[in-house]
């Protein structure tokens, strides 16, 4: 959890807006540090988190979170974190073993033309079962949070953009609207700025479709001037929800540097290496 980012977004683990859909995207850069931020943020906020880790293994996320002061393994044991490890899950789905209980969540792998309905149903049952808690003396958790790292992997696996948009619509309706929880999704854009209009499928269209629906976007880009040792890139924060009289989107641009145990955000040109 990066406190500087918290003050930019004016949220703390004790008080944050509920029902928000946060879209994290990157182009020619890596936005996964924001995913780690939000993961540790919501775990500290005592939310029940459902994490769809399609890119890395659980131990990777655990190792990074440990540095940020949150133990994923503990959270998982307590039932606070529900972690769908896409890598092992898909392997056990494609090479079924007798011992493993096969879940339907990844069934789009067999036939990418089907919708992501089973994946959604997995999420719905895991986020809405928060009240009861199977184990005795289960702790009470806050509003549910769904995190996806990242949606573009689904595109690479052959799922159409429309199907991913439908999936995120259902997640939005269930998590943000019905349960008043939050949702964080990461989308990676292709390296090229913009493909031609005729290109129907692709991460650009996915990003546009999700941007229309979200309440906050964090877009991470590399520096337009190229590589720099002291500034890792810039992040554009954009509030899309109506705030007071400002009906349009409100944008702010920051440059950032990711450190070992945190990240610093500063206004353009005010890096400590420059001043």
């Amino acid at each position: 959890m990066y406190t500087e980012l918290n003050s930019i977004l004016s949220s703390t683990p004790d008080s944050f807006t509920q029902g928000e859909f946060i879209l994290v995207s990157d182009r020619q850069s890596d936005a996964s540090f924001l995913i780690h931020h939000f993961l540790s943020f919501y775990l500290r906020a005592r939310c029940r988190v459902c994490f769809l880790g399609l890119v890395q293994s659980f131990s990777h996320y655990n190792a990074v979170s440990q540095r940020l002061g949150v133990s994923l393994a503990q959270a998982k044991e307590k039932g606070q974190l529900i972690f769908l490890e896409g890598l092992t899950e898909s392997l056990s789905f494609l090479i079924p073993q007798e011992t493993s209980t096969e879940s339907q969540a990844m069934d789009f792998l067999r036939d990418p033309t089907v919708s992501l309905r089973h994946l959604y149903e997995f999420i719905r049952t895991s986020v809405s079962s928060s009240g009861g808690g199977g184990e005795g003396g289960a702790e009470e958790w806050g509003p549910p949070v769904l995190m996806v790292d990242d949606l573009s992997v689904l595109l690479s696996l052959g799922v159409s953009t429309g199907a991913v948009l439908d999936f995120s619509h259902y997640c939005h309706a269930t998590v943000c609207s019905q349960l008043q929880g939050n949702m964080v999704m990461l989308v990676r854009c292709s390296e090229e700025e913009e493909v031609d209009d005729g290109d129907d499928e692709g991460s650009e269209r996915l990003l546009r479709g999700l941007t229309h629906r979200c309440s906050l976007t964090l877009h991470v880009q590399g520096l337009p001037t190229g590589y720099c040792r002291d500034i890792h890139g810039q992040v554009e924060v954009c509030w899309r929800r109506r705030q007071g009289d400002a009906q349009n989107t409100q944008r702010k641009l920051f440059q950032y540097k990711v450190n070992d145990k945190g990240a610093s955000f500063f206004a353009r040109g005010t890096s400590s290496a420059v001043l």
């Binding site: 609207s177 269209r205 479709g209 229309h212 899309r240 009289d245 400002a246 009906q247 349009n248």
Partner: protein, 296 residues
């Protein structure tokens, strides 16, 4: 022209609000709903992108008893087995049925939020056909639809917009609370009018049209361009005050030849010294070559 459209003068109209990721048309659509509700007309909302609570929350202050929400938000594809309204119900029979159910006498206004959602699941030709039938059908007085133009191919956007009697394209304005609306309106006689207006939406959803940018399209200079004025932050003064100018004009510069200076130089005053020169024999003065003595 925007306020005319909000008043909803003509029946049988089909209005499209086109937006992009830069500027959302959702608020303008809510303003339109509020304007229709304030005229005591029935409103049917096909809501795919916004939940009923969120819509009613946004419409606080407007009379919502004539608002009928058809929930396509929670389950638009029938994944959870009890869908309220699915995207596949978007056809003439179903729509006429649900509209007639509640407002028997007066034709109602149909709000589609959004057309993009439907176009993702129903073929464009089927959508156009349904829209055309609805326009002619009589059950619906006006259709207002939101369309995310950057989500579709240009051809699809074009063919849907051809059906519309008015198209409002919203774009971000200069200031944070302003937006620009480009309006194309086709009247029944076939005349096409185009206009561009800057508007903002107040807390109570009333639309304030601020000004009309001139027809020639001379836009206000970009804020960046204004900042580029090189004389803005100089450390010295570029302009003169009147007294400064007077003083400057009074000053005689050394190279300027006034009359006094000339006479002073030519006619020396009596009593001052004069130089008399009488060439002696050594002075070999050659009229032809006065510079003979110089070693050139």
């Amino acid at each position: 022209m925007l306020s005319e459209l909000l008043q909803g003068a003509d029946t049988g109209g089909f209005l499209i609000i086109q937006d992009s990721t830069n500027c959302s048309g959702q608020h303008l659509l809510t303003s339109f709903i509020s304007a229709v509700l304030n005229r005591d007309e029935f409103v049917h909302v096909l809501g795919f992108e916004i939940s009923e609570e969120e819509l009613r929350d946004g419409l606080k202050g407007s009379p919502t008893q004539r608002l009928h929400f058809h929930n396509g938000f929670t389950d638009p594809l029938g994944w959870t087995n009890h869908p309220a309204f699915t995207v596949h119900q978007f056809n003439l029979e179903e729509l006429t049925h649900i509209v007639k159910q509640t407002s028997q006498l007066k034709p109602a206004t149909l709000i589609i939020n959004s057309l993009s959602w439907i176009l993702r699941h129903v073929s464009p030709s089927a959508v156009c056909k349904t829209l055309q039938q609805l326009k002619k059908g009589g059950a619906v007085r006006t259709i207002i639809g939101l369309l995310h133009a950057d989500m579709h191919q240009k051809g699809t956007v074009g063919s849907v917009c051809h059906l519309a009697s008015s198209v409002i394209t919203v774009a971000p304005g200069m200031k944070a609370d302003e937006a620009v609306a480009k309006i194309t309106k086709r009247s029944k006689s076939g005349k096409v009018m185009q206009d561009e207006e800057i508007f903002n939406i107040k807390e109570d959803l009333t639309v304030i049209v601020q000004s009309k940018p001139s027809q020639t399209g001379s836009k206000q200079p970009d804020p960046e361009e204004q900042e580029m004025d090189p004389t803005a932050n100089l450390t010295f003064n570029l302009r003169l005050s009147d007294t400064e100018r007077e003083a400057k004009e009074k000053l005689a510069l050394p190279f300027m030849f006034s009359k006094e200076k000339k006479t002073a130089l030519l006619h020396s005053s009596p009593g001052s010294g004069r130089i008399l020169y009488e060439p002696d024999a050594n002075d070999d003065y050659d009229q032809e070559d006065p510079d003979d003595d110089l070693d050139v």
